[in-house]
Structure formats: C-alpha cells, structure tokens
C-alpha cells in the first residue's frame, strides 16, 4: 500500500529542502516529493493509499543515532537488541549503530552476525553493528576489520575504553582507511582519568569525589587528530564534552584534517553542578562538565565543529545504579529523550531546525557511509514525523528501553517524534 504524508513541513538537508509539501511512499521507498507533482496529485484521491495528514508537523529523514549501546549479547538484563530497537523507534530513530562493548565484545564476525540476526528478528529499526578495534577491546591486538566489515559491521571502535597505545591507533586508522571503514574513537587518557567519578572542578572538590580532568579527554583528541593528519585518514570523535576538545577539533578542521565529531544531549543540557545530590542517574563517561563547557559545546554545534548529536544511549538496570556513587555504572538511557532535549537548541536559537535534523540524520549517515539521512526519491522510506509543539513530561516508566536510568525523569519537554517509519513501515505511531 502506498502512503501519502500531506501538509507537513518537510525538511531534507541533503536536498536543502525546507517546505510545506507532500511525501509519497511506495514499495518502501520515497516515490515522490511535492504537493502538485503529477505523481502526488494522482494519488491524492486514489484507492489503496493511506493518507497521513500531518499539518503542523515536521517530516524529516529518519533520525540516525550513530552511538548506542544495546548490551546484547551478554548483558540482556540491561537491554536487548529488541528492546533497544523499540526504544529507538519510540524516540524517532530509524537507524542506530551499536557499540561493541557487549559480553563478549563484538570483535569477530560471529558476534556481528548475531546482532544483525537479532535486529532482523526484532524488525523495528535498522541496526548497524560497530566492531571492536582491538580484540576484547583490550587495546593490544587489531581485530579482523575485513571480516567484520563483510559480516556487516559499519565502523570500528573500542568505545567505552580508550586505545591507549598510540601506535595501535595509528595502525587502526591506516588499516581501516584501506577498507574505507570509519573509525570512532573514545578519547580518554585512562591514566589521567584513573579512579575519576565526575568532572574535576569545584563540584568534585566539595563533593569529595575523584575528578576526571578535561585534559584527560583533550590530550587524546589532540593525539588522534595528529595521527589522522599524519596518516591522511579520517577519524570520528565520540561524545565530545569539553570546551578544549571543541577548540582542538575546530582548529583541526581549519587545517583540513579529516576529523568529525559528535556530542550527546546531556553534554549541552546538564552541568556538574547537578551532581550535588550524588544522584547516580547523572553519572556518565565522559562526565557532565562545567557551564563554560556546555556553552562551548553549543558553540561547536552552531558553527559546525560538532557534526553530530548522538545519544550515547547507555541503558543500565536499577541494580547498576542504586549504589554508592563510586560503585554505580556510568551511562544515561538516551534514545527516548534525545529529540525533546535537542529541540531545546532550536528554541534557544543555537541551531535551526534544518541544522538539527542534519546533525541527527544526514551527518551521521555520511560519516558512517550509510545510504540514509535523505528523503530523495528512490531512498528508503525512513521517515520521522516530529510534532514540535507537543508538550510532554519524561516518565522513565514509559520508556521502551529496559534502561530507566535517566536524569531527565520528570522534565517537561516540548516536541517529540510522533511517527517513525522504517522502510515504509510504521514502527511507532502516536499520530493517529
């Protein structure tokens, strides 16, 4: 059956489109765009067509989250590929890339294939596994990138852990480059961050918690930028959280280094001041930083230094979080609050709506070399319909994710994804 979405503001940064128009979907693909094209007009009153009236809504290319943790295999009590996929489509994401720090680590073909099979069984979102850089993400021996890529891994990363060995990082970038396989780096000098619980600053001092200095992130970003420049390869920097990191990436881009970078909603929404309650919902790595860092992250998003807003969705069970602060796990369950929190940037004037959609759909698709993030005719009909005016309150009990670990529980937000379509199939629907 064909679907015609009518009357919405259609925003497609890939085509520089921002107009009130119609979108026709047929056979799981975008068949036509435009209110008065022959194709859409012919279908408007046709039979065997589903009309979705979406006046006042935003129609965007399906959102792509390039940084999630789905926890399967091994940590299914926190999340599964199925529950994470359900959370994704509920949050407006049609495609998600999942990090390899499962148990065992996704460092070989069989785990990659397992994740893909689990995603096919769930049949909700497109799930793209990311393979490990090093065996067990232990930071010493390269994994078989070629094999991982053939099995379906779309990038490599040791996310959750840094690659401390600079020579290994060099070989990673070179070897991956020969396969055109994107490399995503978790930048943290683990000697500088050792034992750290939160951002190092006034609040870590008065709380008596061991600090993680901003430079623990920045020295590794500087290192990886230098290695990427020397080897003439591309590198993508995960979860940027400090002002110094933004500056390093900005300068590297000016010099022509092929560096891209992401941040996550909590890094432009919360500061370390909030940790005065010792709430473990706020414990995340990298940690929540200072107000000056938050301002710099917003500047980095506005001027294009930061290409992507990812969620770093890190679901945990209650038993991982209801502990003394220093024993609690790091992470925020982010898939179902990302759109609402990111729309605040539009409200604040940091980003325009097309810029926001670019950072949540087109840019991650390009970095991961996925044929996503566009509403061009012929593209997969991955579509997110957002109601930008809808006021709602975050209630973790409503999360589809098993991870209810959100510091935003109880927050009033404006705007959310009301319909998520993956390959022409409606996978989440609050619209009708």
């Amino acid at each position: 059956m064909k679907i015609l979405i009518t009357g919405a503001r259609v925003i497609c940064p890939a085509q520089k489109m921002d107009a009130v128009t119609d979108v026709l979907i047929a056979a799981g693909k975008i068949a036509a765009l435009g209110s008065n094209t022959a194709e859409t007009a012919k279908n408007r009153n046709g039979k065997d067509i589903k009309i979705i009236k979406a006046a006042g809504m935003i129609v965007a290319p399906g959102l792509v989250d390039m940084h999630t943790h789905l926890r399967e295999p091994g940590l299914e009590y926190k999340e599964t590929v199925a529950s994470g996929s359900a959370a994704a489509v509920a949050g407006g994401f049609t495609s998600i890339a999942c990090m390899p720090n499962t148990d065992p680590v996704n460092d070989n073909r069989s785990i990659t294939e397992f994740v893909i099979r689990k995603a096919a069984e769930a049949d909700l979102a497109n799930v793209y596994p990311i393979g490990a850089i090093s065996k067990s993400s232990a930071g010493s021996q390269l994994t078989e990138f070629w094999d991982l890529q053939e099995a379906g891994a779309i990038a490599v990363s040791d996310d959750g852990k840094p690659v401390m060995d600079a020579a290994l990082m060099r070989r990673t970038l070179e070897y991956a480059h020969s396969l055109q396989l994107p490399v995503i780096v978790h930048c943290e000098d683990s000697n500088l961050s050792a034992g750290g619980q939160m951002n190092e600053g006034y609040y870590s001092t008065i709380l008596g918690l061991r600090g993680i200095p901003a430079c623990a992130e920045e020295v590794m970003i500087a290192r990886d930028i230098l290695i990427a420049a020397f080897t003439k390869t591309a590198v993508h920097i995960a979860h940027v959280s400090t002002a110094g990191s933004v500056q390093l990436i900005r300068e590297a881009k000016v010099r022509g280094v092929k560096v891209t970078a992401e941040t996550a909603p909590h890094y432009f929404t919360l500061t370390d001041e909030a940790l005065q309650t010792y709430s473990t919902a706020l414990k995340v790595n990298p940690p929540l930083r200072s107000a000056a860092d938050v301002a710099a992250i917003k500047e980095g998003l506005a001027d294009g230094t930061l290409d992507v807003i990812a969620t770093d969705h890190a679901p945990h069970a209650r038993t991982d979080k209801e502990l003394e602060f220093e024993y609690a796990a790091c992470g925020i369950s982010g898939l179902e609050t990302s759109v609402g929190l990111s729309l605040r940037l539009v409200e604040e004037g940091v980003l325009t709506l097309p810029q926001l959609i670019e950072k949540m759909s087109l840019n991650p698709s390009r970095i991961l070399k996925l044929p996503k993030g566009t509403l061009q005719t012929g593209a997969d009909a991955d579509i997110t319909i957002i109601n930008p005016q809808l006021k709602w309150t975050v209630d973790v009990r409503d999360f589809h994710s098993k991870g209810k670990n959100s510091p935003f529980n109880g927050w009033p937000l404006k705007g959310r994804a009301v319909l998520t379509m993956v390959g022409g199939k409606i996978r989440h629907n609050e619209l009708f």
Partner: protein, 308 residues
C-alpha cells in the same frame, strides 16, 4: 532550642545557629565525662547503630562511648563482620537495619555520598562519621569546640590547615565550619594535594606552609596517608617532612599563643614533630579527643529530639 534536622550529613548543611546549638549542647555534656558515674539516663531505650564500612578506632569508640554515657543501646557493625561481605548492597543492609527500628545510624563509608544515600532511603536519623573525601562533620564540630574553648571565640581567628587537602574530609568540614563561624582559613600543601578550584570555598591557598602558618591562631595538621606515595602525590616521606612538618622552627611564625591541632592518628616526625605534638603549651590534640565524646553525645541527643 531543638535541632530541626533529621540527619547530620555535613557541615555544609548546617547554619551558624545550628552549629552554635550543637556546640552549646556539647559543652553542657562535658561535665558528665568527669563524673565518678559517667552515665545519664537521657537516651535510655534508644538504639544507636554504628555502621562502619571503613576501619576506625577513635571515631567509632568515641560514638560508642557517647551513646553509652547517655544510656543508649549501642551496636557496632563493621564491614568485615557484617553482611557486606556476603554481597548485600548498602541499600539492602540499611533497609534491614531500618526494619529493626534503631533511632540513629552512625555511618562511616569510604564512598563519598554514602550517608546521603542512606538518609534518603530510611526514616531514621543518620550521622555521617566520615564519607570518603567528602565530610566528617563531628570532627569539625569537635575541632570548633576545642578552638572556641581555647580561644574564646572562632570569629576573627586565622586557621592554617596543612597537608593533603584533596583527600581530607576533615579539611572540607572544617573549611565549611570555620568560614561560617567567621574565621579565615589558609591552606598549605604541594599542588598535588590541593583539589581543583578549592579557592572558591572562600579560603586562601599556599604552596609553602610558612605562608599559611604566618600569624595563625590555630595550626591544624592533617595526617599523610602513606599509600598516596604510590599515586605520586608526593615523592617520599623524607621530602614531604622536610617541607610540611610542623616543628619548632616554623611554629615560631604563628602567633605566640597559637594552638596546634591534629585529627589523628598522628605520624610523628612526618607531618608533626614529636616535641610539638607533645608540647602542653601548644598541642590540643588530646583535648580534641576529649571534646569528641561531648560533641557526639550532643548530636545523638539533639537528633533524638532533645533540646538545649
């Protein structure tokens, strides 16, 4: 006057009025410990649990004696003998204790914020007996009580605190307390022992101890933890003691009548020379211990509804 608080988690949460109330109550309890029969029936029928997840001799003993002198039933649980070793979480342990209806739980824990977590979950009063590098409120209260007794008042004094501030809950609680009471606080130690942005607590920071001690009314020395050497906080005890040990020479920079304090246990010859530690004209270290019992009696009394 009553203390309108369920818990004592830190000096940060106490007002000047509340600190004065606790100190005045403690002063009225001092005399009990000098009696032939060192016991009053004030807390008869009340139960106090000392829940210690971290080794402690003096603080635990002090709380235990405080409870017993007020006739409370005091029970000591230490991490090595409790269910903690069986893998029970702090929350489960606390809920089990809560179900036994104690009146006050005194907790010491190596994790900063653990007493606050406990207080948020259970209805009984919690006293923080030291949590990580966060706070040690009863220590700061007994320190203030000692200073007040020796100096008449706290306001207007200069207090130097020397040593590993970064890892010291005693330093943090004293900084809150002393600045609230109107004293000025000067810290000294190598930069590796100074936590970031500590100046924002309204104190001054010095790298040389002589600068902090100069003209001080009170010099408070902190214990050096030997294991910090492995983290390269300092290169050797030898070098540390050459520059940060309180001795005859540098104490001369303080006021003539300056007193010397230490939360104990002391490392003789490391952060304090033996002749200063034992100098009856200077050292008030054992007065601190003595006041500790009275302060803890006051906290138990006020939290169980007593009034001054």
């Amino acid at each position: 006057m009553k203390l309108e608080k369920k818990d004592i988690l830190g000096i940060q949460d106490l007002s000047v009025g509340e600190i004065n109330l606790i100190l005045a109550t403690a002063e009225s309890f001092l005399e009990i410990s000098t009696r032939e029969i060192k016991k009053v029936p004030t807390l008869r029928g009340k139960t106090v649990i000392n829940l210690f997840f971290e080794a402690s001799t003096r603080t635990r003993t002090s709380f235990e004696i405080a409870g017993k002198r007020l006739s409370a039933d005091t029970i000591n649980i230490s991490a090595s003998t409790s269910s903690v070793v069986k893998g029970e979480t702090l929350i489960d342990t606390a809920r089990n204790l809560e179900a036994m209806n104690p009146d006050v739980i005194v907790i010491r824990h190596s994790a900063a914020g653990a007493p606050r977590l406990l207080a948020s979950l259970i209805r009984q009063s919690i006293i923080n007996a030291g949590d990580g590098a966060h706070e040690h409120p009863s220590q700061a209260l007994l320190d203030m009580m000692t200073i007040k007794e020796k100096k008449g008042a706290i306001a207007g004094l200069k207090v130097a605190i020397i040593g590993d501030i970064a890892h010291s809950r005693v330093a943090r609680s004293n900084i809150y307390g002393l600045t609230k009471m109107g004293a000025s606080v000067a810290l000294a130690g190598p930069a590796t022992m100074m936590p970031r942005d500590i100046e924002q607590m309204g104190i001054t920071v010095h790298n040389k101890m002589e600068e902090a001690i100069s003209n001080a009314d009170v010099v408070m020395m902190l214990r050096i933890q030997l294991e910090r050497q492995k983290q390269n906080i300092f290169p050797s005890l030898r070098e540390y003691s050459q520059h940060y040990c309180l001795n005859r020479r540098n104490i001369a920079l303080a006021k003539k009548d300056a007193i010397v304090m230490h939360p104990g246990p002391i490392n003789r010859g490391v952060e304090i020379s033996p002749d200063i530690a034992d100098d009856p004209d200077r050292s008030v270290i054992l007065d601190q211990v003595n006041k500790g019992v009275a302060v803890r009696m006051a906290l138990l009394y006020l939290l169980t509804g007593g009034s001054q």
